[in-house]
Amino acid sequence: MLTNVKLGKTLRSVSIVGIGATPFFNAQENETYHGLTNGELFGYAALDAMKDAGVEPRDVQFFFHGTANPGVLEKCITPNLQVADWFGMRGKGSLSHSEGCCTGYIALEEAMMAVASGMYDIVLTGACDMGTGMPDGNTPSFMRIPLSTEVLFPDLDSIFDRAYGRYLGGGPGMNHDDWINYYANENGLTEDQIDDVLCHQAYHFRRAGALCPRAIRRTPFEELAKEAGYDDVWEYMKSPYNPKVTQYLRTASDSCVADGAAACIVVPTEIAKQFNAKPIEVIGCGASVLDAIVPHLEKKATAEAARQVYEQTGLTPDDIDLLYVNDFIGSSAFLAAEEVGYLPKGEGWKYVLDGRIAFDGDKPMNTNGGRTSYGHAFGASGMADIFEAVTQMRGDAGERQVKKLPKHTFLRGFGGAQNVRAIILESNF
C-alpha cells in the first residue's frame, strides 16, 4: 500500500455545535422501544442535536444519513429520503452513506467537507441502525422481527470483497484475532496473559457503561458475578458465563448488538459561538481503507490514518487527552491506542491491567463503555462516540467525567472490512 497522501488545509474551519443521541437498546426485547423505526430514531437524535445548537429544522441546509446495512436492516436503498420528513427537512438536499461500522465517523468527515468547502453553513449529520431486528417482510416499518442468524451470518460475507477475498482467506477467520495474535507474538505474551488483559479492559469499560444512562449494558461485572455465585469477579470473567468465542475473545469483549441513533450539527467555526458557547472544532480527519485479504489490515490502516491526521493538525500523540476506538472487536481498543501513540508501544497491555485506560484513569478511553457496554448499533456507534467525546470535552459527563478536561480528543473509526478514519477534535472555548 502507498502512504503518500498529504492532507491539505481546509478552506475554512468547522465546529460541532449541537449533539443528540437516543439510548442504545434492544427493541426486540424491550417493550418500551419495540415498534420504533429508523425514521423516528434518527429524527429524535436529529431534533435533539438541533435543540442543542439552538436551531430549528428550517435553519438546517443539508443532512447526511448513515446506516451500516440499509438493505438487510431496513429493506430500503435510499434511507435519506425516507427519513427527511421526520425532522422537517422535506425537499432539502441530503445524502445516504453506508460504510459498515465506520459509518458514524465518516458521517462527521462528510459534514466537515461540506461545510469546510463553503458549500453549506449549517449541516446535520447522523447515523441510525436498528441492529437487533429486521423488517417483517414487506410491511410498514414499525413491524420488525428479530434478526436471525440464518439471515445475518450469510449476509456478513457481503462486507468482504466478492471478486476474490471472501472466497480465499479474506472473509471471517482472521478479522477478529489477527491483530491481537500479532501483538501477542511481537511482545511475547501468552494466551492467558492476553485473556487477563481483555477481561480487565471489558471490566473497566463496563465501569464507565454503568455510569452512562444511554448504554445498553449497565450492570457492573461484580454484580453479574455475584448473581452467578462468584465472589471473585476475575474468576467469573474466566468462567463459562463468559465463554471464549474466538481464540482470544470472550463474550465480554464482543460487541452487544443494539438499536439507536446519534447526530450532530456542524457549522463554520467563525460563527460557531452564535449557536453554542462550547463549540468543538473538527481539526483533522485521516483515512485509510484496506480489504480483509490484507494481513494485519487494521494495524496498517490505523497507522496510516493516524499519520495523516497528525501531519494535518501538527499535533503529536502527547497532545491527545482522550481516545475513542471502535472496539466491536474488543482487543482493538488498546491495540489501536498503542498504534496511534496514545499508549506506549508494547506497554498498552500493562496500562489496561492497571486500569489506566478507565474513565477515571490517566489515559482514559471509550468513556461511554465502548461497544461491549454502550452497545453497538453498527453505523450509529461512531456518531455515539462523537456524542460522548463532545460531552466529555464540554465537561458535561457527570459521574464518568474524565479527570482532566480534554483539549484534544482522538477518534479511531473502523468498520466495513475495513474503512478506517482518524479524527481529532479540539475544544475551542
Binding site: 502507498l2 472466497y167 479474506g170 482472521m174 477478529h176 471464549k244 474466538t246
Partner: protein, 145 residues
C-alpha cells in the same frame, strides 16, 4: 501515463481478469499480475499496481511455494461456515508467496493439537490446495511437510 485514451473497441475487448483467475485455479494455475514499472507482483490480480501506484500490469503466474507466517484458530464467532459445513480442520493465517505478495489465507489440515505444534515452528512452508467448492475452485493451503 500516456495521454492516448482507450478506443471504444479496445475497451469492449478488455480481459476478464477475475474470471481468468478463477478458471486458472480450476486448472491448477495461480495467476497474478506484474507491475510494468516497479515489477511488484499484484495478487490477487488487479488492473493497476497497488505497490507503486502505476497504472499497468501484465499477466504472470505464481509457483505456489509459500510460507505460513502467523495464524489463528477460529471460534463460534469467526468460523468459516463453508468449511465448518464440510467438517474441515483449518486455521486462518498470513501466507507469503515466494514471489513476494502476502495474503490472509486458509490452511487446511491443522487441528487444535497440531496448531500448538506448528506455532512453535513458524514460519513454515505451505503448498497450494486447489479446492473444489462445487461451483468454483478456490485456493487454500496445507503444510508442506
Amino acid at each position: 501515463m500516456s495521454t492516448e485514451r482507450m478506443k471504444a473497441e479496445e475497451f469492449w475487448n478488455r480481459e476478464h481478469i477475475v474470471e481468468k483467475f478463477w478458471k486458472g485455479l480450476a486448472d491448477g494455475v495461480i495467476y497474478a499480475r506484474k507491475c510494468k514499472e516497479c515489477g511488484a507482483i499484484e495478487f490477487p490480480p488487479h488492473i493497476a499496481c497497488n505497490t507503486c501506484g502505476y497504472h499497468e500490469t501484465e499477466w504472470t503466474t505464481l509457483s505456489g511455494k509459500a510460507t505460513l507466517k502467523s495464524f489463528v484458530r477460529t471460534g463460534i464467532l469467526n468460523a468459516r461456515l463453508e468449511l465448518e459445513d464440510r467438517g474441515l480442520k483449518y486455521v486462518c493465517g498470513e501466507v507469503q508467496f515466494e514471489e513476494g505478495p502476502a495474503i490472509n489465507a486458509v490452511i487446511l489440515g491443522i487441528s487444535k493439537k497440531k496448531a500448538k505444534e506448528v506455532r512453535e515452528k513458524l514460519p513454515v512452508a505451505v503448498r497450494p490446495v486447489f479446492f473444489d467448492m462445487g461451483r468454483y475452485t478456490t485456493l487454500f493451503f496445507e503444510l508442506d511437510e
